[in-house]
Amino acid sequence: MFSKNSVLALLVSVVGCALLYIALEGSILVALAVLVLALGLMVVGERTGKVDLVCRSVSDHKRISLAVVSVFILILPFMISNNYLLHVAVMGGIYSIVTLGLNFQIGTGMVNFATAAFFGTGAYTSALMATKFGLSPWLTTILGMVSAASLGILFGFPALKTRGYYLSLITMSLQVIFTLMIINTSWLGGPNGVPGVPAYSIGDVSLRMPLAIFGLDLPYQANYLYLVFILLGLTVFAALCLHNSRTGLAWNSIEQDEIVAITQGINLTKMKLLAFALGAAFAGLAGGLYGHYTSFIGVEDFTFSKSLVFICMVLLGGIDNPFGVVLGALMLTIVDEKLRDFADYRMLMYSLILIVILLLRPQGLLPKRIRQYQAANKMREAKAWFSLKGERSSP
């Protein structure tokens, strides 16, 4: 009935969700302890080679893991002790979408310090379209994605001519310019931000109304939790598809060696701009969600330090591993929100975490893995194939 691997996949998914739940519910120390525990488990797993087994069983039994995670998200609002923690989970989901997008650029070897500008473009476009022109938030979110993607292409053009430090400096400059332009433009709300951003609504039901299921009144954050995590699921799916396609391979090869990439027929211009445009569209989507969720956006959410936080999330989770970056975003959001009472220490904590990761585990919590094309099947195929042909040729 159930193979050993399927049980393992079930177990891993449950433990993963449980750890995230504990981190979310516990105090800051508990959250940090979970982070350390997760890291410890990974290190032990790598030493003993168990990680490969776990990854293989999860990827062989995707449906089981998906079911566990879906159930977890579904029952999360019932298990959680207060609305604020639910809000943290929603924010974690929103930031995860941003980091998935940023990962396209970092996976192509372009470290982009302007992610917050893309996030902000989505948020501002969506919020302003909805408040000033009264368009439906669903529509404005799509417009936000489009405008963020356009800005992504614009910001991506320098990447065609420069690399490394120079590209980093350009994206930093563009990020600073973006922030200053928002502050200086009164039509965009200037330093006061945009208040009164309308919520999404389905039919006549606003998502900012409490949700009543099974005679229980769930806080309105639950609506957004479901919405955000459905979208997160879709973006993770898209990111995985891209990662395993020739597009993802092309991105990685550009990161490794541009000359090799171009001599294999890869159009660097197209692929680099694509990484920027798609990544920015993801960030724009998240920005739209953010505005319509919190009902207020202000420029301080879209500054250089926010960009740095996004990079920190990708790095903590593991560059070029979609599951890793989501994990990194969730964990850092949890830890960050726990530090709300110690607001002065937040940036200090980010910077120290970043240094510690870089020093001790630069590959992140879940390091990138060799692509396994339908892993197990292919491997068996290859072995069978090998044994078939093996005997008749020896060079």
Binding site: K161, Y166, L169, V176, I259, L348, L358, P362
Partner: protein
């Protein structure tokens, strides 16, 4: 005095402060091929160290009575320069050396993080550190020199920069150690092969860079009369931009780049209506355009990738 003239002087002064940070960036990039992003924060740390001493009540009588004013200033600046040099060396050991030979992204991020950590530590531990601090007017801006052409403060800023650059020029070109540093900058392997102590060269470069940053921090704080704990990030970004515009790795380029950025900022503020808000925007736009069309900088060699 005409408006243009006073704005030019103003720009030269601002340019001097940017140039000093840019020189720091260029020196570090030369020997290590890394962009040390915490340079701006280290400079601001230097300014805070002076601030701390001056406001320390115990030392007040000493500062006021014993010594002539210029000796006091010299001692204060020397103290902060030594402090920043030591700090820079610490930064090197903690967040730069461990990443030698790894992807360039890592030291970039680690130094950005170290810069933030440093500024946050100032914000947390300095009394009311998160509020802007008035920087003591050690250099008088009322007294004027050259027949009213410029204030004494400004004259000292410009003079100090000239003296520093001259000293640096002498050190880099005339001393054995300076030549060793140049050799390491130009060709690491060859320098090691002919028996140059690379580690020593790096250490000395970081010490000297730290000294210059300390003085730069003092000058920028004197120029703007206030210091904020988080000023370093912007100051560093402008300094890095200046270094890139001038040509990363070149000391003279750093000075030219610093002046260009300062002139753009000052002139946009002064002569374009409503331009003050857009001064930084203009400067950064110029940086973007510059990198795109002349990435090797004004003074710098075009590198050709070998296939």
């Amino acid at each position: 005095m005409s408006l243009v003239m006073s704005q030019i002087l103003n720009a030269v002064m601002l340019g001097c402060t940017y140039s000093l940070v840019a020189i720091g960036f260029s020196l570090f990039f030369g020997v290590m091929d890394v962009v040390v992003f915490c340079a701006g924060d280290v400079a601001i740390f230097g300014a805070f160290s002076i601030l701390a001493i001056v406001t320390m009540t115990v030392l007040q009588p000493v500062l006021d009575t014993f010594l002539p004013q210029y000796v006091t200033i010299f001692l204060l600046v020397s103290f902060s320069a030594v402090a920043t040099a030591a700090l820079m060396l610490l930064m090197y050991k903690l967040v730069i050396k461990p990443f030698e030979g790894k992807s360039a992204l890592m030291p970039l991020l680690s130094t950005i993080a170290a810069g933030i950590a440093l500024s946050e530590l100032i914000g947390i531990f300095y009394p009311q550190g998160r509020n802007p601090q008035a920087f003591p007017q050690l250099l008088s801006s009322d007294a004027t020199v050259l027949g009213g052409m410029m204030s004494e403060r400004n004259a000292i800023i410009i003079l100090a920069t000239i003296v520093l650059v001259t000293l640096l020029y002498w050190f880099v070109n005339k001393t054995k150690l300076g030549l060793a540093i140049q050799a390491v900058s130009q060709n690491k392997e060859a320098a090691i092969m002919i028996g140059i102590n690379r580690q020593l060269s790096i250490t000395v470069t970081f010490l000297i860079g730290g000294l210059i940053l300390g003085i730069g921090g003092f000058l920028v704080a004197s120029y703007s009369n206030i210091v904020r704990f988080d000023m370093g990030a912007m100051y560093g970004l402008k300094g890095f931009s200046a270094a890139v515009v001038g040509g990363l790795g070149s000391i003279y380029g750093a000075i030219v780049g610093g002046m260009i950025i300062a002139f753009i900022e000052v002139f946009v503020s002064a002569f374009i209506p409503g331009g003050t808000a857009y001064a930084s925007v203009a400067a950064f736009l110029m940086v973007v355009v510059f990198i795109l069309f002349k990435p090797e900088g004004i003074i710098g060699e075009k590198s050709v990738e070998k296939v």
